[in-house]
Symmetry: C2
Subunit: 713 residues, 2 copies
């Protein structure tokens, strides 16, 4: 048995061995019907892999007519990729044999690893270590397999029932079941796939690796992800942000409700729950996030064929009022504008339409609309500067032929360089239009809402593409090394996972190192000392109860403000002492602080999210944050553009910006503090929670009146 | 030519003549293919109408083989229903001939009426008047037709290409195009229809009439509506609220963005834009609102076969982790709870499952799950008190047969009395399950999100059904007649559509009549008089600029608060005069008002919505309303239950309710004022805008510090 020698594999730690193998061995290939061993082998052969496929099975002479080999070692030629569907207990030994054979890529279908508990996790770690030591890339374990539709490769190493057709959409799924659903949906919607990887337990190959590989894959123009977790969110953010500049990434990130594992004690922590962290990551990276597999493919059908809109102004062209109204409604919900048409443009449309038509947007050409009218009006609208995208709706009346209309829309859209989508409603008389729309690469949706949603998400992405990237600026008077020393000092005291609160002197040292302003503050252990400090700071002052274990002082009457003279300070001291007693805590003293007058209360905070790591929050002070949850989040490190956007993302922002004639607060100073916190947590992931609450934004500058910091490993 | 005599039609102004005719004439029937005259006639015959069909066409001897008549008058027998598809100009004359013939119902397909402009509107009015005078009910004009699937009637008088199958779902569409889409969707999803009416321009028969007819129609169990407007919203609210107690109504209300026609000058008016009015109406009436035709039928498929859930606790049963997570995520977004399972319940599940399965909710039986395991676990979950509904997800693996699983789920669900839905994912190997699920009346969705959304909306409806209806209480000291006199007095001054503002004395009289408390207030025309009034009220007081055309006084420094003595009053007067001058307005005087101290600022207001009429708004004062738009709306008349819900609907409600140890405000007093405003506007639709801003909620009672009222026809 002689075969042509396989050309050498390029030296690289890349995924080529997995996605561009020249030969494949399938260990666990089987003749028994309705088994993975049979289904996957039939896919390998049936999809016509361009190199040899070697079935490995010690009990068979041949699998579906192909000469079988008892083990990988006995395969007579070089093998690039080995696909394993063998019992869990045998995976490690087989992987070792593959390494001995010189295999460069493994796809392990077999389950029974990390997903089953500690024993399986240990088995998975051993498998990963083996692969790393022996220079093999590993997809899985516990996965559905991989696909590459490249005609020169033509690999379907999955047991899914669908042969994907070739195209420009790359797909990865963390769930095998959703992987099957994705391949199914792509087939049903005629979306061409470049490659597909079911990443399973992600022992080695993760979404990050795939994003890097697809970045350089000329066949891939759009990336679809179904993810349940980010292995390394910082790396994901970096890679995704870079790739999204060139190729759109659409993601279903699942597991939004999985949070709430950490009991959070700070304001920031309690607000950072749920999905905000992932949402922040997604927005900063320019990902298009959707919430179902259906929406994933609606979006893919658009991105694979249509340009990204340069703005949000949509023109709606229809032959029926109802669906036009539904599209208009959907625009409001999704964040698209129904373009206001100028008189000139309306007149230009009117030239092609009967008097009864409406040339306002939605342009309702009424039921008598002809294919020619579709073509002419589509062209008029798309040629106009007033329109960024077109939605053409067609409800088949008895007279007009759907296919003619589809071709007319394509004609009207040709060469505009602007995105066009169609909505041909109803099942009857529409099928014949599908071919014409497909030929013109115009995606068509069954209902206007889906079409609008797709365009809206594409417009969001377009806006992200146009946004300047920004810089992570160098900050004057920000000594991150000194700040880190404070953090590590406090951390050395921490005895368990809950970590340690910074003491008041440590907080002072930290804010000084970062260059964050705070009012004159000192601790007094007696009423007399407090009065003396107040005199030295200048009245009025604030007195804050110091007592072990009390963090939300306001709740128990532990903060006295606007003390204007010594006798008020003495009275306040007494009052604090009584409040402490009433709540059964021991007053150790009080903080005396120069009172900041005027300005706007804000809060800047940091928390740690199990999915994405450190997370920065901004909000306006008091009820805005706690009750109304009017807050915004970003993932550090922040650029100057991010900081500006963060502060402007809350609904209450006008209160900082001279609302109703009030003095404007120094928004730049708030952004500056946000950047300083970003610098801190980028260098010190040990900051588990931090609240500047309130951070008072003054007409000039911003002052941190209170600061709580918890550090933990 | 002799025919059996038609039995007499019952005396009634009901829709029976349209929906239960014993004979039908089709005026405009045609042999020419691809015309409405041909398509509609073929539907009448092809669907096998149970009585005779008389084609009327002066140019044909027969239409598709049926003896034709030159005009309605020459039809030899009684005709209950006439369907008209004749040129617009001939509709009126033909309708008159129908009346002469004794026809009791008309369905006018012909377009060219109100939708085309004033001339068409006049034509429509004439048609409606004729029908009313001559005792004919009229569907349309400008509609698609009507369907009744009752085997004793079997009427398809539409030109849609679908014959609907019989069932319990009634449907009405204001848009013909959406009507076609609805019939299509019902067919595609195998949803049985009881009757369908395309109401077109609604010259006579409206959704309200249909709701009343369906209320008494034993074949109808679920109602689906596609609406663009409410003809008579008050009537709609009353009828829908009543029907929804017995049969669920699912509605797509479109035209959400169509508002903004009225330039609003009050706070309430400016906040009442967009969709809030319709949303309030929908919530109060127990309607299930969805935002697409797709979602309409997803919901219908559920309601037609499954009971309404009694609570929000969902159990998810799956053989694959990914879709389970997606369902969990969707629950969070849609407002369902993923039921927390007790240890006992988990142990009961574990008895049927392998160790690797997860008995937490979502219950992941892993890929090896057998049909028997589905049946057993479904039963355990549904029998438990901890679960209100079940979602069974199945991803076909190679081994387990979809149909077996479908049957097993049906077995496990039998007799539970709780709702069960299925999600069989992927296109392959799932078709065979469809029949089994349909036989068991378990709706199945292609993706978990749709299933969860449907259950969530059904649970909302269930909660509405359980909510007490409440009463519109009688209010002590509320003299609505006196209030109405004030309103009409002011209205008599109004010269144009923008209406008239109430003067300060009128406002006082109005609030007194309603029994709404306000602080001592009087107008001063000089600083001296202001000081004198202040002395008589007691300090501190508030001074408010009075000047023509100034309504938002705060914006231009026209309000001075906390004036503690006479000299402060004089200084404030000067300051108001300067402010007026600076803004180029003439100060006519100032209001002196006893200052209300403490309490929580709220706002209660009324505005008029073009869709639903009067609209009541509640919010917390200041930035809560204007900037954060934390407001809630209800349609009057309010019951006590509505008033309580209104006040509790804003996010900031805890601020009224003793937030963080603050004194509780008198929430009951705020509800009481809301009920008084409701009584006012129920009697006086002439109140175009009204703001109590602020209405201060005190520890005891509530005081309206400022009140602006605009009246208009």
């Amino acid at each position: 048995m002689t075969q042509a020698p396989t050309p050498p594999l390029p030296e690289s730690p890349s995924l080529d061995a997995v996605l561009k193998p020249r030969s494949v061995a399938f260990i666990g290939a089987s003749n028994r019907p309705a088994t993975i061993g049979a289904e996957l082998f039939r896919n390998l052969l049936g999809y016509a892999f361009q190199g040899p496929v070697y079935p490995v099975n010690p009990r068979e002479r041949a699998v579906f007519g192909v000469r079988a080999w008892p083990d990988i070692g006995s395969v007579p030629d070089e093998v690039d990729l080995a696909v394993l569907a063998v019992p869990t207990q045998r995976v490690l030994a087989v992987a070792e044999a593959c390494a001995d054979k010189g295999v460069r890529g493994l796809v392990v279908i077999t389950a029974g690893f990390k997903e089953t508990g500690p024993e399986g996790a240990a088995r998975e770690l051993a498998l990963r270590d083996l692969c790393r030591e022996r220079g093999m890339r590993l997809v899985g374990p516990n996965c559905l397999g991989v696909v590459n539709t490249d005609p020169e490769i033509h690999l379907d190493a999955t047991f899914a029932p669908t042969f994907p057709r070739g195209g420009s959409v790359a797909m990865a799924s963390q769930s095998g079941a959703l992987g099957v659903a994705m391949l199914d949906a792509a087939e049903a919607l005629n979306i061409g796939v470049s490659s597909f990887v079911s990443i399973g337990n992600k022992a080695d190959v993760s979404a990050n690796d795939l994003l890097e590989w697809w970045a350089d894959d000329p066949r891939t123009q759009v990336v679809l992800l179904y993810l349940e977790s980010f292995g390394n969110p910082k790396k994901f953010a970096r890679i995704a942000r870079e790739l999204a500049r060139r190729k759109p990434i659409v993601a279903v990130k699942s597991g939004r409700s999985a949070r709430g594992l950490l009991a959070a004690s700070s304001h920031t922590g309690s607000l950072a729950g749920g999905d905000v962290a992932v949402q922040a990551l997604v927005e900063q990276c320019g990902l298009i996030r959707v919430d179902s597999v259906e929406a994933l493919f609606d979006q893919a059908a658009f991105l694979a064929h249509q340009p990204v809109p340069k703005g949000r102004r949509l023109a709606i062209l229809t032959n029926s009022g109802g669906p036009g109204i539904m599209a208009t409604d959907a625009c409001e919900g999704a964040g698209l504008d129904v373009a206001e048409l100028s008189d000139g443009l309306k007149a230009a449309l009117q030239e092609h339409l009967p008097a009864a038509a409406s040339v306002h947007n939605p342009v309702d050409m009424i039921a008598s609309a002809s294919a020619e009218q579709y073509a002419a009006c589509a062209k008029v609208l798309l040629d106009s500067e007033e329109v960024d995208a077109l939605l053409a709706i067609f409800v088949p009346p008895i007279i007009t032929d759907s296919r003619d209309v589809a071709e007319a829309i394509a004609r009207g859209a040709a060469g505009s360089g602007k995105p066009v989508v169609a909505c041909f409603m109803g099942h009857h008389g529409v099928e014949e239009a599908t071919g014409a729309l497909e030929a013109a690469q115009i995606p068509s949706y069954a209902f206007p809402e889906a079409a609008v949603r797709v365009l809206a998400r594409a417009a969001d992405y377009g806006a992200w593409l146009q946004r300047p990237v920004g810089d992570v600026p160098t900050l004057a008077g920000c000594d991150v090394a000194a700040a880190r020393a404070v953090i590590l000092g406090a951390l050395s005291r921490a005895s368990d996972d809950t970590g340690e609160m910074l003491t008041d002197p440590e907080v002072s040292a930290l804010l000084d190192a970062l260059g964050v302003r705070r009012p004159a503050t000192a601790e007094a252990s007696s009423a007399g000392q407090a009065a003396e400090l107040a005199r030295s700071f200048g009245f009025p002052v604030v007195l804050k109860l110091q007592a072990e274990g009390v963090s939300h002082k306001t709740d128990l009457g532990g903060v006295k403000v606007d003390l204007r003279n010594e006798s008020e300070v003495f009275a306040a001291w007494e009052s604090l002492a009584r409040a402490a007693e009433a709540h059964g805590v021991t007053m150790s003293g009080a903080l005396v602080q120069a009172m900041v007058r005027g300005g706007v209360e804000t809060i800047l905070g940091v928390s740690r999210d199990p999915t994405v790591g450190s997370l920065l929050m901004f909000g306006l002070g008091g009820v805005h944050v706690e009750l109304l949850q009017d807050v915004a989040f970003r993932i550090p490190p922040l650029t100057d553009v991010d900081a500006a956007a963060l502060v402007r993302s809350v609904r209450g922002f006008p209160l900082l910006d001279g609302y109703r004639g009030a003095t404007k607060a120094d928004v730049g100073a708030v952004e500056d503090v946000a950047l300083r916190l970003s610098a801190l947590v980028s260098a010190c992931p040990e900051v588990a929670e931090l609240d500047l609450n309130p951070l008072i934004a003054l007409p000039s500058g911003a002052v941190a009146v209170d600061c709580r910091v918890r550090v933990a490993q």
